[in-house]
């Protein structure tokens, strides 16, 4: 455990002595802020003008505001998380520090988990920023605690799955660029996989739909928790971490 803790601390130090983490945090805060403002402005306009259309209850903040916002944040994660994971192993391979990690009295799993948890910590920080935006609305309006938490849990799981896969891809190469492009492409594929269902059917389409990271996110964004989706994300995380650990055992 000391080894894992050492890795986590070192990763965080590295994030914050280089511009990388600040760039990701700043970009995220600005873009997510813009999304949120746009959603909110539209939502306000619609609820003022067309309140009657939706009957006595008025417009529903859950479907009109939160759900699209959660999806936008998810897309933002898709773009930004490769920047977090790309350097993790690629840089170690290039610096020769993998040799340090592999010859230290530390289990492979401690290294893999340490790197994952450090990146997950950064993800949590990003989500806290989004949480501030949502909290602002919750302060003035009415938002259910449950759908909001479900949405954030979904984002955390989706982000963690991205991170686990991104870390694995980073472990395959010495080049940060290759890692970033590879990770981004994989994320994009997982994102659009359920397009198959719009023109195909049968087992293959079903499979693609199951693999799609989007179709599993929908429930969370709607405030619904489903074991099926939890299992999906958790298995992606486990597979990513397992592959990385296996990769660590192989020589270069």
């Amino acid at each position: 455990m000391t080894g894992m803790w050492a890795i986590i601390r070192k990763e965080w130090k590295s994030y914050f002595v280089t511009p990388a983490a600040y760039v990701v945090l700043a970009l995220f805060a600005v873009i997510a802020g813009f999304f949120f403002y746009s959603m909110l402005a539209m939502f306000v306009m619609q609820s003022l003008g067309g309140g009657g259309m939706f009957g006595r209850g008025g417009v529903d903040a859950q479907t009109m505001l939160l759900q699209p916002f959660f999806f936008d944040v998810a897309i933002l994660l898709l773009f930004l998380l490769p920047m977090v994971t790309m350097r993790s192993y690629a840089e170690e391979a290039r610096n020769g520090t993998l040799e340090l990690l592999k010859t230290a009295p530390v289990r492979r799993l401690e290294v893999v988990l340490g790197k994952f948890l450090a990146a997950f910590g950064l993800l949590v920080l990003l989500l806290v920023i989004t949480g501030l935006y949502v909290g602002l609305v919750a302060h003035y309006g009415k938002l259910g605690l449950k759908p909001v938490s479900a949405g954030f849990l979904g984002l955390a799981l989706l982000g963690a799955a991205f991170l686990a896969l991104g870390l694995f891809i980073s472990s395959l190469t010495r080049s940060q660029i290759v890692a970033a492009v590879g990770t981004f492409s994989l994320f994009l594929l997982l994102w659009v996989a359920d397009w198959v269902t719009s023109y195909g059917s049968g087992h293959i389409a079903e499979l693609f739909s199951y693999l799609s990271i989007t179709s599993h996110f929908r429930n969370f964004a709607q405030g619904v928790l489903d074991t099926k989706d939890l299992v999906y994300y958790l298995s992606l995380i486990v597979v990513g971490l397992f592959l990385t650990a296996r990769r660590m055992e192989l020589a270069e």
Partner: protein, 316 residues
């Protein structure tokens, strides 16, 4: 201390390290000598647990690397060929990280870091970012991370490669000062380095162990004739002819003539031949200035042991 038995590593059909066995003695500096690509780095990587061997066994103070890798690794300090540094961290942050990674107990961590920095003369740069340090300093940080947890066995892969002459001397001095408290294995392709620094030398070529001995014994083993270097004022060619006639002289050659001083290189059988040569030169009035035995260089020993021949240019 360290026992290596039948260590072998194959990459597909290629055998990088072929059945190498050796042991270290406590507190010694053992040189690992061989040309580039001989299998030095591969062997070290297997000994440190970085690379799993295809066959063979490594034990450190009786602890099998395969059976209990964590306990075995705790006893090793390792400086790879490329010092494993994080350029974005400061020297102190980096060493603290390594101390944690190597399971130095929290209470001793600060002391261990301070001690390593002091030993490697890094106190001045403790707060500097590693990426901005000179190559010599970076190498010292690499050594500091290896000795941080006070391991019994230190393994340095080409510790002086790419350093300037002064840094090379400093690094060698540092390594020599570490022996005694630690057992040191040092790989190098620079033979004089092994001769200067190591008590024993392992010669390895094409993945195979060629010889294990002290530099002096290796010299003795290879040496069959004495090589003499003679300087004289006077006709070099005539002197050469005179020496070549003497019994016990297998070869006499004129290797230089400048400002009226001639230089000869002579292969002679033994001490009495040397005496006879001196007498002949003095009695013949060749103006003998100097006559000395040339020590065999480790280069020549190495080439003789590995069965390659010395290129003409190098022998002059």
């Amino acid at each position: 201390m360290l026992e290596v038995e039948h260590l072998t590593r194959r990459y597909g059909p290629m055998t990088a390290v072929d059945d190498i066995s050796f042991q270290t003695r406590s507190g010694e500096i053992l040189g690992f000598l061989g040309p580039n690509g001989a299998g030095k780095t591969t062997t070290m990587r297997m000994v440190t647990g970085y690379l799993p061997p295809t066959a063979g066994e490594v034990r450190i103070e009786g602890v099998g690397l395969r059976r209990d890798p964590l306990a075995a690794k705790r006893k090793i300090g390792y400086l790879p060929e490329l010092p494993p540094l994080y350029p974005e961290l400061t020297v102190r942050d980096y060493l603290r990280f390594v101390a944690r990674l190597r399971q130095v107990p929290a209470r001793e961590r600060n002391n261990a870091v301070e001690r390593a920095m002091e030993r490697c003369a890094l106190a001045d740069v403790r707060e500097r970012v590693i990426g901005r340090l000179s190559k010599g300093y970076r190498q010292r940080v690499g050594i500091a991370q290896a000795i941080l947890h006070n391991p019994r066995l230190l393994i340095f892969d080409e510790p002086t490669a790419g350093l300037d002459p002064r840094q090379i001397l400093e690094t060698r001095h540092l390594i020599r000062s570490l022996a005694g408290d630690h057992t040191v294995i040092l790989s190098t392709h620079i033979l004089s380095e092994a001769a200067n620094t190591c008590q024993r030398v392992i010669i390895i070529n094409r993945g195979k162990l060629v010889a294990v001995d002290s530099p002096e014994n290796l010299t003795r083993r290879v040496k069959q004739t004495e090589t003499l270097l003679i300087e004289l004022r006077g006709a070099g060619a005539a002197a050469q002819a005179a020496i070549a006639q003497l019994p016990g002289v297998s070869k006499a050659e004129l290797i230089g003539e400048q400002d009226g001083i001639s230089k000869l290189r002579v292969e002679s059988k033994d001490l009495s031949t040397r005496e006879a040569i001196a007498r002949a030169l003095v009695e013949g009035g060749y103006g003998l200035l100097e006559l000395k035995e040339v020590e065999l260089t480790l280069e020549e020993i190495f080439l003789s042991l590995t069965g390659s021949s010395l290129p003409a240019a190098a022998s002059a």
